[in-house]
Structures are given as C-alpha cells and as structure tokens.
Amino acid sequence: MIYAINRQKIRQCDLVFEPLELEKIGVLDKKGIEKAYFIGYEHASRKLEELSRET
C-alpha cells in the first residue's frame, strides 16, 4: 500500500531520478557506498544531459 502511494507521489515530480541498477546493491555489499554513489551520479548525469539537449 505504501509503495502505491509513493508511486503516485513520484509521478508528481517534474524530474525523477530512479536508478534501477541500484537493485544490484545488497545489504552485505561492502563496496555499497561507492557503488550506489556512482550509479546515482551516472544516472543523473545522463538524464540531465538528455534534458539539456532537448531544450
């Protein structure tokens, strides 16, 4: 139920970063901090590049 509410709210954003690759990071992952950071950075950079090309 909470997941459904969240989806609704996520759709209200003008821009959403939601890197699905994060799924690969488990709680046991010792390199989790770096991995997640880079996944977020690359995902957002890509999306922002696309956006600046469009406008």
């Binding site: 939601e18 709680v27 989790g32 950079s45």
Partner: protein, 201 residues
C-alpha cells in the same frame, strides 16, 4: 517552470546504503548548476538532505557515511542480541551538523515516524540532530529515539518519499528515489535466499 528556476525543491527517499545514490545525484545537479531551495528527506534521504542543506561538499558527505557506521547493520549483526543504541551516534552527528534547522543554508524537512501515534511527523525547525537520528532509526536494528516525550523511528516506515512539504512551495520538484523494485522471477528469488542462507554457515 524549469530546471534552472529559482525555486527548485528536492525530495530524497529512504533506502539504506542505496541512498548514497542521492549524493551522486547532488553532484550531477551541481555540475549542471541546479540548486535546490528546499529539501525534504526520509531516513537516509533526511541525512543526505541535511548535509546538502548545510552546504557540505560531496566529498565530505561521502566521508560522513564512511565514518559513521550506519550501514554496518548487515545480516550478521541483526543476528546478535540487542539493539544499536541510536543515542550513541549523537556525538558524531554533532560534528557534522549545526544545532538548529534555522542555521542551515537551505530549508529542510525531515520526516520521522511517531511510534505512539503511528503517524508520520515532519520536523523543520528547532533542534536538528535528534529528528535526523530519529528519521534514520530503522527498527529493529536501531532503538527508537525520544523527542518531547514521544518515541520516534525511521521516517521510511510511514513516508518513504516525503514530497508533501514542497507542494505549492516551489515551481519545480526533483525527486530521487532509491527504493527501486524490479519485478523478480520466482527462480531468482529462491536462488537469492539459498545463497544468503549458505553464507550464514
């Protein structure tokens, strides 16, 4: 209404170590000269949001999470008896954050779960560190935190994507959601569980 608007709001979800992706998102935003005026966060998103609101550099944000053993609550520690005492983090947090919300450079909203009422509650003024700790106090690992005679726990329990405070306050809302769920096949699920169990032996 656009990205370079003067009035951008940023929502940061909960999601444990995956929340480090928020820091990467912030770096990308900074490189594209996008700056948020208001930030709202839940759990790990509240912590990253507070660092961002405080003007902390991306490098220092990463050091904060490396130095603060927040994500060491892996499978094995859960198996040990006892909870992590959330109060123990108080001193470390005081080194990175100012005392009050009002001292931050950006407007910040932090959501935590009021355990007695079973409701979400937003914090945006007054004392900063306790609401931050409460927002990231995920049971059963972290003990709930007492604020004004009420016990609070992880904001993600009731509100993992706290967009509400930004409504009608900004022209452009950016969301970073790290609680991603992909469809998983049954076979994969079984394989994952059995490998986790093997690691315990």
């Amino acid at each position: 209404m656009n990205l370079k608007s003067e009035s951008v709001g940023l929502v940061l979800s909960g999601g444990g170590v995956r929340g480090m992706a928020h820091i990467g998102v912030i770096r990308a935003l900074e490189e594209h000269a996008v700056s948020a005026k208001i930030v709202s966060g839940s759990s790990v998103g509240a912590l990253v949001g507070a660092l961002y609101a405080n003007g902390t550099s991306v490098a220092d944000m990463l050091s904060f999470f490396k130095e603060t053993p927040l994500f060491k609550y892996n499978f094995f520690t859960i198996m040990k008896p006892g909870l992590v005492d959330t109060e123990r983090y108080f001193e470390v947090f005081q080194r990175y954050f100012p005392e009050y919300f009002e001292e931050l450079k950006r407007e910040l909203y932090v959501v935590a779960t009021n355990m007695q009422k079973g409701e979400e509650e937003f914090f945006s003024s007054g004392e900063l560190v306790r609401p931050l700790l409460a927002s990231a106090a995920l049971p059963p690992v972290f003990s709930p935190l007492e604020i004004n005679n009420c016990f609070y726990a992880d904001g993600g329990i009731m509100n993992n994507f706290p967009l509400e405070p930004l409504k009608n306050k900004v022209d452009y809302i950016i969301g970073s959601n790290v609680s991603v769920i992909k469809q998983v096949e049954k076979k994969t699920l079984i394989r994952r569980y059995s490998s986790q169990i093997e690691r315990l032996h």
